[in-house]
Symmetry: C2
Subunit: 388 residues, 2 copies
């Protein structure tokens, strides 16, 4: 059954090659002080930085540059960015990068004028912002997180070994996002396919929960099939515009709240993956890939009907004269084969996890309530060991 | 290939049984003068009117009532509503009804302060609004048109025998819509299934265009499968909340611009159906149903690959050792069987069309450019005759 919900997603998206031309019109809506946020500097090599700076100058903006946002943005970095935004009276935060940069910018937007320690308020106590929020715009250079059209902002605290996501409300959603598929061409293959799996995981975390047969699940299946189709083309030819643009669009809808409406969700793979990330700083999508098969094989018996449906509707498994369990199992085999084919990291060892970390990672893993099986700490340890 | 596009849909949706409780919060955002727009008065019988009025009174609103909006709202009715809205300095138009009432309210919203004749400006010259636009909110009582989350507003001019839709921009989208599936329970079965086919047609008009294999098509297939599944349950038991809620949610996404992004669309079935509607005042969804099979069988050879994909992905046709044509044909047979099963009107005669009207209907039919076959006037006549 579709439970009651409120849906609103006001982010304006400019999609396609050359979509950056729309930045000018958006910048005109905000004051003169723009904080330009980016990551490790790859945008300076591929020309995106120059393109954005040219538009900013043309619009007469004063620019506060703030680079160096790491793949897993830290609470320390958040504190610094918030201070810079506040001290410069920033009118707009322009995130140019992937999900980390977008997430980070949203976190800064609610932290600059926060009357409390943002890590404590948003990530430990999970409170909502009560201060002035700086508007955020995004120019996306990597696909996967869906951060361009949602309120999610994941922050990592190294001292506490915690990587936690806060999903903020629509007032924190980016006001606009520029989505140019060609901006993602130069991404290394490792990052590209990690992003693909992040998309896959977002859809599955929402799909594998509840026994319902609702519209959200049908939409999810469509998105999954599109992703599988295009990902196989993109790994062969990363410059296939059709494949990359379809994946970019799928990524946005995989995590902009649509497929979660009216249903329960799980998110346990992300919880385990984020704990791995907090320990290893490994690429987010790969941490998800490395634990997924062990997790899904573990919970499959508890959600057999949905796993069988997944096998048939997403992976095209022929169900004729087979038991539900056999069908479901074949679906996971097909999934694993696809994961290997696109080149995902399939075990934790390759991400730097050693057996002595297992207990700590399990302790850092939040246990979610929406899955077919609510895990115990021992089960998390078991899944981590099977993923080694 | 996904063409370039801008996506933005700011409408806030309150979904589920009892969602009307959110009306109070929305009303607080607007001034005191509310124009309450509705249709033939069924909302006075089923208690929805009383429920809405109670909230309006509780919020201290002054209410200008304006009922009698007909299933195909006319340009004359539009002129009158626009005058009333203007003379009463209306702060919010609250549409309580189905697609006709929502469409009509949007048309009034851009016509009240229009400096020109609205029919001429918006429906003949297809110009965009340049005047003040009155905000619109919707309380939906019938499912199908998607009007609750888009800028569409179809108006009929009886003297000119024209039924024309203008798709306005986001500034004309409803600010909010209340979607309570139980509000649709009392709808007569004829109207209910007509709405189901309207949804189906919206998705297909966007799907059957272009040879592309993009995300939009995959989402469309998911929506179609959900609709087919739930419609068969709803015709057996119209009070099945799960089925009715899934259909309500599918209807919204079938025509809120999502599945059209980045691709060409057709809309020829709507063009023919609307011309039939202008001549007969028949229920919109039924006019679409009556001409669809003849139209799709006619254009199938020109879009064979997509029709074969439709057969497999939506209707579950087994393609093994069959020609593309055979697969595509079986898909349309399955579709026709579903249409008969849910009780749609499958010919124009039953809608009051007589052979002498055919030429006139063909003349009133706009020829769209996005279909697999751009029709000639003679081909429209041929399709109409096959649909008689």
């Amino acid at each position: 059954m579709l439970g009651n919900f409120t849906f609103c997603n006001p982010t304006r998206l400019y999609f396609g090659e050359g979509a950056i031309q729309n930045l000018k019109g958006e910048l005109a809506k905000y004051g003169s002080m723009v904080m330009l946020v980016y990551g490790g500097g790859s945008i300076k090599k591929n020309g995106i930085y120059d393109g954005v700076m040219a538009v900013l100058k043309e619009c007469g903006k004063k620019v506060v540059e703030y680079g160096g946002v790491m793949p897993n943005p830290t609470s320390a970095k958040l504190a610094e960015g918030a201070r810079i935004a506040r001290e410069n009276n920033v009118d707009l935060i322009l995130a140019v990068g992937g999900g980390s940069v977008c997430d980070y910018s949203k976190a800064v937007s609610v932290s600059a004028y926060c009357e409390d320690d943002p890590w404590q308020k948003y990530y430990i106590r999970f409170e909502e912002p009560t201060c002035k929020i700086i508007p955020v715009g995004c120019v996306l250079t990597m696909v996967g997180t869906g951060s361009e059209m949602n309120g999610g902002a994941v922050i990592t605290n190294h001292e506490q070994k915690l990587k936690i996501g806060h999903v903020f409300g629509t007032e924190v959603f980016p006001k606009f996002s520029v989505l140019d598929p060609t901006y993602t061409y130069t991404l290394p293959k490792y990052q590209m396919v990690a992003g693909f799996y992040d998309i896959m995981s977002h859809i599955l975390e929402q799909y594998f929960s509840g026994e319902d047969d609702n519209t959200s699940d049908y939409i999810a299946e469509g998105l999954l099939r599109s992703l599988i189709h295009s990902s196989l083309i993109a790994v062969e030819n990363p410059r296939d515009y059709e494949a990359r643009s379809n994946i970019m669009w799928t990524a946005t809808w995989a995590l902009n709240t649509l497929t979660a409406q009216g249903k329960t969700t799980d998110w346990e793979v992300h919880m385990i993956g984020q704990a791995v990330g907090a320990y290893t700083d490994a690429t987010h999508g790969m941490t998800l890939a490395a634990v997924s098969m062990a997790y899904y094989r573990y919970i499959m018996p508890f959600g057999l009907k949905k796993f069988a449906r997944y096998a048939v509707n997403v992976w095209g498994v022929n169900a004729e004269s087979k038991s539900e369990e056999q069908v479901a199992t074949e679906g996971l085999v097909a999934m694993e084969s696809w994961m290997n084919k696109i080149g995902l990291v399939m075990n934790l060892k390759d991400l730097g996890v050693t057996p002595d970390m297992i207990e700590g990672i399990a302790d850092a893993t939040l246990i979610m309530q929406g899955g077919y099986k609510v895990l115990t700490r021992e089960e998390v340890i078991d899944i981590l060991k099977r993923s080694l």
